[in-house]
Symmetry: C2
Subunit: 438 residues, 2 copies
């Protein structure tokens, strides 16, 4: 591949004389459908890259499996009449020119990297559907006003590295962090064809993108449980994450009476229970999780003198997160007071809530309706590349049902028919957004 930076792709474009013209009437366009069999065949083919014997894939970013899959995906892009390039951040961008060279591109896509021991739907469904939408448009000779770009963001699972390079949120320090592949992000970007020395050129400004739409599996169980076809994402929740340290006093488990202990694990256990209670005590869809815990010294016969754990809070409303944390910190202090232990919190991650664009939400809702599909508005509890691109452009997201709400697991599953529905909604939404957006 020739390597071109994202901006030059965007600013460039084919001469208007060679642009395809619309060959379908409005009526015909409303009959337009993706080839669902082809999407699901591509998903099956993609699942071979990094396949695990016990099911699912380990196709972590910057692995051999990731790089091989990316090469295959670029072939599919070419078949869809997209011109794929790799930007300096390592994102794959498949571009097709629009009728109006002065318009900014309409971008849609997702990612194909997985978590370790992940599934075959997270990211893959959105990516394969985006390519399919481009192919459907090409096969039916539908020209768009805007240039279209199918984006495959690199290392979404590690922390939206590719999309945050484009939104300008990626820091130099993050490039030195070690990814799941064992490579640093910097090494990983070089491995997949990027160039960190020129990373600054990848950054886009607000208004550089006409609009962004991402199709993704829900990763929760609400759609499937309620038999709803399509989720119209209200926004991506804000996330704050803390390292929590509980300090007590380690002592001999045999000789220290129960009433003389400063047991850090007892205090940490009351903390876990309290976090659950506080988060559930407020109406709304907020969530709070303690996912990691370790007691020191960690021997069965020593009272833990120190515990480290994590706290994560998510909500569509950043203020609500701060309000919950204030209550949790206050109650933690009281818990510590009960047995002479101290709590300390260190904020390690902040991801601000990213509301979707109301116009995009209406476009997606209407698209679903026009296809006879049921839909409901819902937040995205998971992070997505869409939240980074929402910094730059009107953003919309389409969810398809995840059976049982299982995700980041080999058991992750979305029904082929639901995937095809989602891709058709994406197709309709892209066509509508192309008309609606400037």
């Amino acid at each position: 591949m020739n390597r071109r930076d994202f901006n030059s792709i965007m600013i460039g474009g084919l001469a208007a004389s060679v642009l395809p013209r619309p060959r379908l009437s409005s009526q015909s366009q409303s009959d337009l459908r993706v080839n669902g069999d082809r999407i699901n065949a591509h998903l099956a083919a993609l699942s071979e890259f990094g396949k695990n014997p016990q099911g699912g894939v380990s196709r972590v970013a910057y692995s051999d499996a990731d790089r091989s899959a990316r090469a295959r995906v670029m072939e599919w892009m070419r078949a869809a009449k997209l011109e794929p390039t790799i930007d300096y951040a390592g994102n794959i961008v498949g571009r097709r020119a629009g009728q109006n060279a002065s318009l900014k591109p309409l971008v849609f896509g997702s990612h194909i990297d997985s978590v370790p021991s992940g599934g075959n739907y997270d990211g893959d469904v959105g990516t394969m559907s985006a390519i399919e939408v481009a192919q459907t448009l090409a096969e039916h000779g539908v020209a768009t006003r805007h240039p279209i770009e199918v984006a495959i963001w690199q290392n979404e699972e590690g922390g939206l590295f590719g999309s945050r390079a484009v939104s300008g949120q990626l820091t130099a320090a993050e490039l030195k962090t070690v990814s799941s592949s064992g490579k640093t992000v910097e090494e990983g970007i070089a491995f997949i064809g990027g160039d960190v020395a020129k990373l600054g050129q990848v950054k886009r400004r607000k208004g550089d993108i006409a609009g962004y739409i991402e199709l993704h599996i829900e990763q929760g169980g609400k759609l499937a449980a309620n038999k709803i076809d399509i989720g119209v994402v209200e926004g991506i929740v804000g996330i704050k994450r803390w390292d929590v340290t509980v300090t007590g006093f380690a002592n001999h488990a045999g000789t220290t009476p129960m009433n003389e202990r400063h047991d850090a694990l007892l205090a940490a256990s009351r903390f876990v229970e309290m976090v659950n209670r506080v988060v559930r005590s407020i109406p709304g869809g907020q969530v709070g999780t303690v996912g990691h815990i370790e007691a020191f010294p960690g021997a069965p016969n020593v009272i833990p003198g120190k515990v480290t754990c994590t706290l994560e809070l998510r909500d569509l409303n950043d203020t609500k997160i701060d309000m919950m944390f204030a209550r949790i910190a206050k109650e933690a202090k009281a818990i510590g007071g009960e047995n002479g232990t101290q709590f300390a919190f260190s904020l390690i991650h902040v991801s601000e809530a990213a509301p979707s664009n109301p116009r995009m939400r209406a476009i997606i809702s209407d698209a679903a309706k026009s296809l006879g599909l049921s839909s409901r508005d819902m937040p995205s509890g998971a992070g997505h590349d869409a939240q980074a691109i929402a910094q730059l452009a009107p953003m919309g997201m389409i969810f398809v049902p995840s059976i049982g709400g299982i995700s980041h697991s080999p058991k992750e599953f979305s029904r082929p028919a639901d995937i095809t529905n989602g891709a058709n909604v994406l197709l309709k939404a892209v066509i509508a957004a192309d008309q609606a957006l400037t």
Copy 2:
């Protein structure tokens, strides 16, 4: 050193004609006192072996520091007119013949191995005091009816390996376990001069030892807090230890609503709190501890699907331990029922309660009283070599105060005057037991 097995040491003995005769009257014997300065000087000298820059020692069994210290201790034994040998299990036994060659030996001693980053008193106080008692007897020409043996049991901290070899409780499988030194127990025993091939010859039977007395630091804070000089140990608590597994369902922390979670860590936290509550709800000195915990997969953004932790219960009454466990297991099942998680318990360690001998307790109490020292009966919450030897002989234990109850820590401390008091009680108790026991 010549290596001799423990039984042959015990059965052997010098001809009566060369035995020392008592040279002190009863009145003079009651004035007999140990040299407290010498004990504390020996403790200071011993603290150089495995000394840590930040204080305390790491003299784990089978380390170079352990072996070097053992060589030094054998020199001190010779100065105390004891004949030190290493038995096949690696225990050091310093023997002096008694007046009556038909009597079994009166054994007293402790250990000199430490935990990693341990202190200078656990084991060391009892060992240095035992040698001092022998030296005091020798210097004052006090002959005993029984042979006396000062025993320095190897690898106490790893699990009473030396004393359990003698009581016949050590299993072949345990020899393959890796000790804190990095060596297997088998390799370690060879390293310090034992011979596992002949380990069976070390085993003694009930009645092979006339009596056993061990002086040790309390390791709890009861004596110091109540300004009591001497603890008369009622027995060594029984211990049961379980591996606990809590099984829930791992899922995405952002997309799984609070009321649809099967959070194994939330259940485990309720378990930790419940264990504390159940143990404290019953009158008595029993203790219960969860010292180790781990959540899987352990990421801040994944609801834990599995938690492993430990449970340890201790009491002087084994039945009480079983009763507490039955309540804990029942309540754990209810906790699991609340959020769809399951608890499983795997018993990994059993150490039966070892009551001390009533006659030995009276001898120790009287010894303290005769010295004008205050004493109280108390359980030992920690395990000791005495519990293994209690299988074979009447056992008594003497505790001296641990300041602040701190143990297994560089901050472990017992006052020199308290140590001297303890050694004097040991001296008087050995003399009294020599008279009282057959």
